[in-house]
Amino acid sequence: MRPVLETRGLVKRYGELTAVDGIDLSIGPGTVCGLLGRNGAGKTTLLRIILGLLASDAGAVRLFGHEASPHDTVARERVAGFVEELRFYPYLSAVRNLELLSRLDSAGASVAPGDALEMVGLADRAREKVRGFSTGMKQRLGIATALVRAPDLLILDEPTIGLDPTSAASVRTLVRRMADDGKTVFLSSHNMTEVAEICDSVVIIDAGALVWQGTLDRLREQAPVAAYRLWTTDDAGARQLGREFDIDIDRLSSGALLVHADDALRNSFVLELARQNIAVRQLEPDISPLESLFAALTGDPAESAGESESQGIPARSEADKVHR
């Protein structure tokens, strides 16, 4: 099946900095592909090039099998999306913003502005000036501006950032539904849970270069053993038992034990703890397998820890920091 989006040897430099470094990627139709990378990895630059806002220094973008040169709006006719912070004309209402933007689209297959606002849950605020909209509302309006084009390829830059949990869930549902309807969605995100929930495939870039591409299932297969935080009534006994089970257990600075074990081994270990009268006070995941793999693929976690945690991607577990 012909890829919807392909890039070949894409390069973008800003002076000495190479923001995008020879990226080759391919995304098939009817899928949701997540674009992952630390802050400054080159995600937004890559999306800008695909959307035609920025010219690459080398390489090519192919959309639906056709080469798309920079500024080529014909080749991007079936593409819609947004990058970075969403901004609108503050002196216009939400529906007027959509009406005017859609006037700049080709006629034909399109979604009425009112319907697009309905889809993102903004129908009741349609007549209000955008000036008073919250970040989350602007985010939803941004998705609506993409939807009015009825695109076959939707490109979204962190579409759920700034949204409350309910709105974020509805956006995820919307994205998934579009893919089920045969549309392709390429979205960047810092939220691994979100990626795991809605994406079929993942592209991971680091320092402008592609470091991993494949299906989510393959990513899960390659992911390291999960880690859990454990609080017990007898930590010394638990660590002794861990050695018998050949389980790697570290002590965290918070007092919790960090247990590295797959699901089956962890279940047996917990049952044995109970048999030895060691009560489990609390057991929670420390870092998901995807997060572990992401951290492994994207280099030094300490560098990204502060900013990544706030965005939902812990760069590495607390144990890593303690024991390194």
Binding site: F64, E77, Y91
Partner: protein, 440 residues
């Protein structure tokens, strides 16, 4: 059909063209209350101006062409306003409508939204240029129409005294005043294009809005000192004066044509540069940072300084029309015609012929050496008829770089306000009068 060709690229229905871009930009401009206020002012200011000049009669803004007649004839009221509208109104309107039309997208952060649609950058640029032009022209013509109607309603439709001392009947005056306003749309287009260029180049609303005003001010300053024909031809502000040629006898159509060509060339240069900048601009993440905006503003200021320096350098280069001979050839018949008008108004008699006047003008030096703008000109006018007995008249003349002059002998030729044979007051046309040589 090949497999590649059969792949659907463009939807069946039509792509958005220039019309769609114009519609969007017009909708955005007219939705902003501040710009609606500007358009309202284009109605209110001329009415207030007409009322004010009438209330001030017989004294008026005599330092402006037609200003001394502003309270006496609605046509003069409109033309007096046209002087200011050209030099201040057009740059201001161009700044407000065109200067923010690109920079506004940077300010609102909306470039990424509109450039990700189907309309091409060329269409978006064209749409913005046309929308800004329509709004500026609409505002300007509204000022013209309101000033003419309000002027006639308030000051009356008396004949207009033109820049050669002739009385222009109301029917002709309507058409000429309307033509003067319409002609000024050409230099207006130059300043609209300048506003567009500053807007896209600086990405700053302040530079875009104030830039045309500052440039117009600088050019006006150069006009004060520049009398060389080259500067008069290449200055983007020179065409603002070209409409004067409609009110001279004979009408200097060459001046009108020259002004039109200058305006069109500058409009093409500024507009083309704006289009090129938008087309080649990369919308990266750091493209509207304050540092970048400051750098762009500094670059623009540098270019402006160089351009002004070049214009200043050439301002005195080349031959000049501002010579004693030209002044003599213009002021003598004008004085004669005004003397006729003066006699007719005072006596009510039409049976009078224009006195053959001879003028001798200089700036202290001899007639041959006297040239250039200044307020130190003096002319002596003599009625050449044998045995007329009228003494020579000495006039103090201020000759401006744009080829227009004001001359007067003060109370030597009667008071400012005289009474006609029916007892009605009228302005003494010889007390002080304006004329134009016809430049460049």
């Amino acid at each position: 059909m090949t497999a590649v060709a059969s792949e659907r690229l463009v939807r069946d229905a039509s792509r958005p063209g220039l019309g769609a871009a114009v519609h969007v930009e017009m909708a955005k401009l007219t939705s902003q209350w501040s710009l609606r206020v500007v358009l309202l002012l284009c109605v209110a200011v001329p009415i207030a101006f007409a009322a004010f000049t009438k209330s001030q009669w017989p004294s008026g803004p005599s330092d402006v062409l037609f200003g001394r007649w502003a309270g006496a004839s609605g046509f003069a009221t409109s033309l007096t306003l046209l002087n200011s509208a050209n030099f201040y109104g057009i740059p201001l309107l161009a700044g407000l409508f065109a200067g923010d039309i690109f920079a506004g997208e940077d300010r609102h952060g909306t470039w990424k939204m509109i450039l990700a649609r189907s309309a091409s950058r060329t269409h978006i640029c064209g749409g913005k240029a046309i929308a800004a032009t329509v709004c500026v022209w609409a505002g300007f013509l509204t000022m013209g129409a309101v000033s003419l109607l309000a002027g006639v309603a308030i000051a009356g439709s008396s004949s207009l005294v033109n820049l050669s001392g002739q009385l222009v009947p109301a029917g002709t005056a309507w058409a000429l005043v309307a033509l003067a306003w319409l002609y000024s749309l050409l230099p207006a287009a130059t300043f609209i294009a300048l506003g567009l260029l500053l807007s896209i180049a600086s990405r700053s609303t302040i530079v875009g809005v104030l830039g045309p005003l500052v440039v117009a001010g600088a050019l006006q300053l150069l006009e004060v000192i520049g009398h060389g024909r080259i500067a008069r031809i290449i200055s983007p502000a020179a065409p603002f004066d070209a409409w004067h040629a409609l009110f001279t006898d004979p009408r200097h159509l060459g001046t009108l044509l020259q002004g039109a060509i200058t305006s069109i060339v500058w409009t093409a240069i500024f507009g083309g540069a704006a289009w090129y900048l938008l087309r080649s601009r990369a919308f990266g993440s750091a493209d509207t940072t304050p540092r970048l905006q400051r750098r762009a503003a500094a670059r623009i200021a540098g270019v402006a300084v160089v351009v002004v320096a070049v214009l200043a350098g050439v301002s005195g280069v080349g031959p000049t029309n501002l010579t004693a001979k030209q002044l003599q050839a213009s002021i003598a018949p004008e004085f004669g015609r005004l003397a006729v008008a003066h006699y007719r108004w005072q006596t009510g008699s039409a049976r009078v012929t224009r006195p053959p006047m001879k003028a001798t003008c200089n700036r202290g030096a001899g007639t041959e050496k006297s040239r250039g703008p200044g307020s130190d000109w003096s002319c002596t006018l003599v009625d050449t008829r044998v045995a007329d007995g009228a003494p020579p008249v000495a006039l103090d003349v201020t000759l401006k770089a744009n080829g227009c002059y004001s001359a007067g002998a003060g109370s030597e030729l009667g008071a400012l306000v005289l009474t006609d044979h029916k007892g009605k007051a009228f302005i003494n046309p010889l007390y002080e009068f304006d004329g134009c040589l016809g430049t460049p």
